[in-house]
Symmetry: C2
Subunit: 342 residues, 2 copies
C-alpha cells in the first residue's frame, strides 16, 4: 500500500526545503531550472497530487457545492441535478448532495453539516416541510455568514438571494391557450392542496388564461387532491359530475391517473377530452396516448443555477458595496403528444 506522497516527503528525499518543492512544482521563477527539473521529475514519478483538504484549509475555499433537494428519486430534481453537476464539474467543482426528504428538520441538519466549511455555497429547492412551516432562519443564517445560496423551483421571497424559477404561471397559460385554440371551453384543473407555490402559480395561470378568454371559471372544475396517493374515487366523482372537455394537471401522476380512468369509461383521448400535464417526464412520454406536457428544462435550470452560484462564490466582493441578486426565469415549453389535438 503506497500512500500518497506529500511535499514534506519529497523535500526530505531530495534534501531541499518544503518551500522549494512547492515552488518548483508551480514552476516558480525563483527556483533554478536544475532544481525544478529534479523536483518535477521526482513528483511525476511518485504521482504527486496536492492534498485537496490542505488546499481547502489554506484557501478557505473547498471547490465543493452543496445541493439540497427534497427528493432524488424524482425525475425533475434529477434533471436539475444533472445540469448542476455538469456545469460545476466543468469548472472543477464537486457536488455534495443531501436529500431533505421533504422534511424541515432534515433540511436544517443537512445545511448545518455542510455549512461548516464543507461547501462554498448552496443550490437548493425547499422541502415541503419548510414551505409549510414558513421558517427560513436556517437559510438566513447561512447567507449572513457570507455563504451564497441559489434557490430553484421551490423558493421563497423571504430570502434575499439568487433564484431560478420556472414560469409556472406562463406555462399554465400556454397550456390553457392551447386547449382554447382547439375549441375546448370546459377546461378543468387537477392540482394539489395549496402547499406548494408551484401549484399555486399554475392555478393562477389557469385562472388568468380563462379570464383572458372570457371563459367563466367554474370552481367545480378544479379538483384539489391532498397528496400523491391518488384517491380513485375522488377522480371518478369529479369526472362524473362535471362536464369537462380538457384537463390541465399540475403533475404527470395526476394526469396519468385521470387518463386511465377516463379511458376506462370509454371516453376518447383526445377526441372527447384533451390532457396536458406539467413536467415532461418519463410517464408523459410512455403514456398511451402520449401525454402532451409542459417541459421544465431541468438541465438548463441546473446549469443556470450553478453558473449563478459559482459567479457569486468566485466574486471577490469589494466588501463595501451591497450584494445584488437576480432571479432568472426558465421558460417552459409545450411538448405535443397524442393527448391533445395537434
Amino acid at each position: 500500500m503506497k500512500k500518497k506522497i506529500t511535499l514534506k516527503q519529497i523535500a526530505k528525499e531530495l534534501e531541499v526545503s518544503i518551500s522549494t518543492v512547492s515552488k518548483a512544482l508551480k514552476n516558480s521563477e525563483e527556483i533554478s531550472t536544475d532544481t525544478k527539473e529534479k523536483v518535477q521529475a521526482f513528483a511525476k514519478l511518485h504521482n504527486y497530487k496536492p492534498n485537496n483538504v490542505a488546499i481547502s484549509l489554506k484557501n478557505k475555499r473547498t471547490k465543493n457545492i452543496g445541493v439540497i433537494i427534497p427528493d432524488i428519486v424524482h425525475h425533475f430534481f434529477t434533471t436539475v441535478f444533472r445540469g448542476i453537476e455538469q456545469y460545476a464539474n466543468k469548472l472543477g467543482y464537486n457536488v455534495i448532495v443531501c436529500v431533505s426528504d421533504e422534511s424541515f428538520d432534515k433540511e436544517v441538519i443537512n445545511m448545518e453539516m455542510l455549512a461548516n466549511g464543507s461547501v462554498d455555497g448552496f443550490i437548493m429547492s425547499l422541502s415541503a416541510g419548510t414551505q409549510r412551516k414558513n421558517d427560513f432562519n436556517h437559510l438566513k443564517e447561512i447567507t449572513e455568514q457570507g455563504i451564497p445560496i441559489v434557490l430553484f423551483d421551490r423558493t421563497t421571497k423571504e430570502i434575499n438571494c439568487d433564484k431560478v424559477l420556472i414560469d409556472d404561471r406562463e406555462g399554465a397559460i400556454k397550456a390553457v391557450q392551447k386547449f382554447i385554440k382547439n375549441g375546448r371551453k370546459k377546461i378543468a384543473l387537477v392540482t394539489t392542496e395549496n402547499y406548494f407555490s408551484v401549484s399555486n402559480a399554475r392555478e393562477a395561470g389557469y385562472r388568468e388564461a380563462l379570464a383572458n378568454a372570457d371563459i367563466e371559471i367554474d370552481e367545480h372544475r378544479i379538483l384539489k387532491l391532498p397528496n400523491m396517493e391518488v384517491d380513485e374515487n375522488a377522480i371518478h366523482e369529479f369526472f362524473n359530475s362535471n362536464e369537462i372537455d380538457a384537463v390541465l394537471c399540475v403533475n404527470e401522476i395526476f394526469a396519468i391517473h385521470c387518463m386511465n380512468l377516463v379511458q376506462k369509461k370509454g371516453i376518447r383521448i383526445p377526441e372527447d377530452i384533451s390532457f396536458i400535464g406539467f413536467t415532461d417526464g418519463i410517464l408523459s412520454k410512455y403514456a398511451n396516448p402520449g401525454l402532451t406536457a409542459m417541459a421544465q428544462h431541468g438541465v438548463e435550470m441546473g446549469e443556470v443555477a450553478a453558473k449563478m452560484l459559482i459567479e457569486k462564490v468566485e466574486y471577490v466582493s469589494d466588501d463595501e458595496e451591497e450584494e445584488t441578486y437576480q432571479t432568472k426565469i426558465i421558460e417552459s415549453t409545450i411538448i405535443e403528444r397524442g393527448s391533445t389535438i395537434n
Copy 2:
C-alpha cells in the same frame, strides 16, 4: 456578515489558550467546571461549530463518500444513490456524486479529483466505456493507496474489492416460473442486443427456467431490439407472427411498448397474455394495467454498499493481515400487478 467564529477568536475573547477552549468544548476533565461553563456558554452564544476542513486535515478522514455512476437521470441509479445517501447520512457521512456519463475518461478524471483527499472511499458502478475498454488501472491505483472501493451492479472480476450484485439470472427464473405456474407455455422474451451483461444474465435465466420446466425454447419467441428507441414495426411483426401468451421484458420501456401495442390489437392483459418487466420503476407502477415487475431493490443495494464501504473506512487495519472482500447479492422480488394473473 458575521463569519463563523474560530477557536482562536474565542480564546482571545476569553483570554485563555486555544487548547483550553478546545478541551472545554469537548468537556475535558482537565478543565475546571468554571472555565468549561464560560467557554461553552460563549461558544453557544456565537454558534461555534468546528471547521470540517480543519478536522479532516487533522484526522486524515473527510467523512465524505464518493459515488461515481454512469447516469443520474436513471431510475435505478437514483434509487441506489438514495440508499447510499440515506445510510451514509445517518452515520454522519456526506456524499459527493460524480457522473461518468458512460465515459471511461470522465470516470478516471472524476476518481482522480476525489482521490486526492476529498473522500474516504468510493461506491461506483462502471461506465459502459470502462467495461468496453476493460481497463481498470484507475481503480487499481486507488485501492493500492488504501482507499476502499465498493462496486455495485456493473462490476468486474479484475478488481479485488467489495461488491454488491443483483441476481438477474435468478430474477428471470422467478418470472418465468410465475408464468408457468399460471399455466402459460408460450413464453416470449423481449431483450436488447447482447451488449449488456445484465441482459445476458436475464436471458440465461429465461432459458434455464424453460429448460427446467421441459418447455422447448422457440428462438422465434425471443425478440432482440437494438436500442431504446423502440421500433413499433418490429414489435408488431413479432406479436403477429408468433403465438405468445406471456412476455418477459428486460426493461420497463420494452414492456410498456409491447403492452400498448398488444392492447390496441384488442388482446386482453392479463387474460390472453401476461407481462412481466424488469426493474420496477415508475412506468410499471402507473401502466394500465399495472405491470408486474421484478424489483431490483436499489435502495437496499445502496444501503448495503454504503454499509460495506463505511465498515472498511472505519476499520483500523492491524496493518499486517490481508484485507478480505465480500460480494453480496441482492435478491430481486416480484411485484404483482395487473399484467399477470394473481
